[in-house]
Symmetry: C2
Subunit: 205 residues, 2 copies
DNA sequence: GGCATTATTAACTTTTTAGTTAAACTTTCT
DNA sequence: AGAAAGTTTAACTAAAAAGTTAATAATGCC
């Protein structure tokens, strides 16, 4: 019996549909009928493959949490000077959240609504260790005076904030500035350079 | 007939309860029974005062949207140098979101789920104009060389991001860093100074 | 006091949505 | 071919939540 070795097409279709609907509407707002429609199958199949709405959601959530922080090991491990690393990180990160614009808000909302879920899941991901190493590198470079000294925790919060928050609040910005989708996307692309420069200037010794 | 001139106690109790539950659980997650319980009244009274869940929600939402940006006119209008204004703004803003920690995520989530709602509501608030004036001041100070030149839109997005995002992602940070509520709050208070300094250094000519 | 208006409730109906079942269809194995 | 296991569906039930109603209690008015 080779069960579970290979995902059936139906199972994948369900997961994709569920991902789409859950991310768009959240756990509470999502409807199983909508997921079934989206996947082009009967609702009963959802229960056949995944016992319940909750279980299906957890599957999606667990899979997503690994993607919250993409794999930046290559950047971190490289021997480039820290300013370049940060610049590269910012570019890559803004690209990443631009390609997955709904991911941050989804994760933040659902973790907020059920913090325990995330606590239970910690350790399943190595991303924290990578961030820790990054922080350690920062301290080293601060000590040799290549960049100005900041609390590394806050510095990393700053970098993350600058990259993620405008994506999360896109609809708010859009409404306030009365911009169309295309114009706003241009602004968000500009940010790669603006944010890089902002951080660079702040860190310049 | 003096109707609607003075809010009845019951109406206020309902609004307060609804605010609490809606902010905590969102439109989809909130239950009318829970709101009624919280307000200490019968569920039918909700319909007596506000026709439907949707209508009640809109009332709350409309009231909240004005609070998204508190009134900073005093700071903006003062004659202090721009660095001091920004520093004061950051302190006040972090205080504000710390006191209303659930507000930003609530607004962002619901605006994201129904962008039209916010677009319909624009103009009801004067906050945008204040921000515009702030941006204009920045440009002036950049021209006379008191602060380094940045795109003012991005600069304001940066300031907002640094103040708001860590509050929004509090549960995520808490889970990752394995901190208790008290310790995390200390870190968020530290941010007032860290963020001020970060921006100050970035802007220093 | 008693009548009219407003406020409040318990119990009910309706609607929505998650979850189940039994039967039909497919695939696979011998 | 045909039995067994796996897959899929239409139609159903159960549960939860929104919304309604008709009767009761409180309030203000003459």
């Amino acid at each position: 019996m080779a069960e579970a070795l290979e995902l059936s097409t139906t199972e994948q279709k369900i997961l994709e549909a569920a991902k789409k609907v859950f991310i768009q509407k959240g756990l509470d707002g999502a409807r199983l009928d909508e997921i079934a429609n989206e996947a082009g199958i009967n609702k009963a199949l959802l229960h056949y493959y995944f016992k319940s709405k909750e279980k299906l959601f957890e599957k999606i959530f667990d899979e997503m949490i690994g993607k919250l922080l993409p794999d930046f090991s290559a950047i971190i491990e490289s021997q480039n000077p820290i300013e370049e690393k940060i610049e590269f990180f910012v570019h890559k990160y803004i690209d990443f959240v631009s390609e997955n614009p709904q991911l941050p808000l989804f994760m933040v909302t659902e973790i907020n609504r059920n913090p325990q879920r995330m606590k239970d899941l910690l350790g399943h991901t190595q991303n924290f260790i990578i961030l820790q190493r990054f922080a350690f590198q920062m301290i080293t470079e601060m000590q040799v005076g290549r960049i100005k000294s900041f609390n590394p925790l806050h510095l990393m919060l700053n970098i993350m904030s600058l990259c993620i928050f405008p994506i999360i609040s896109k609809p708010v910005i859009q409404a306030i500035l009365q911009l169309n989708e295309a114009d706003l996307n241009i602004i968000l692309q500009q940010r790669k350079e603006e944010v890089s420069r902002f951080i660079r200037e702040a860190l310049r010794p």
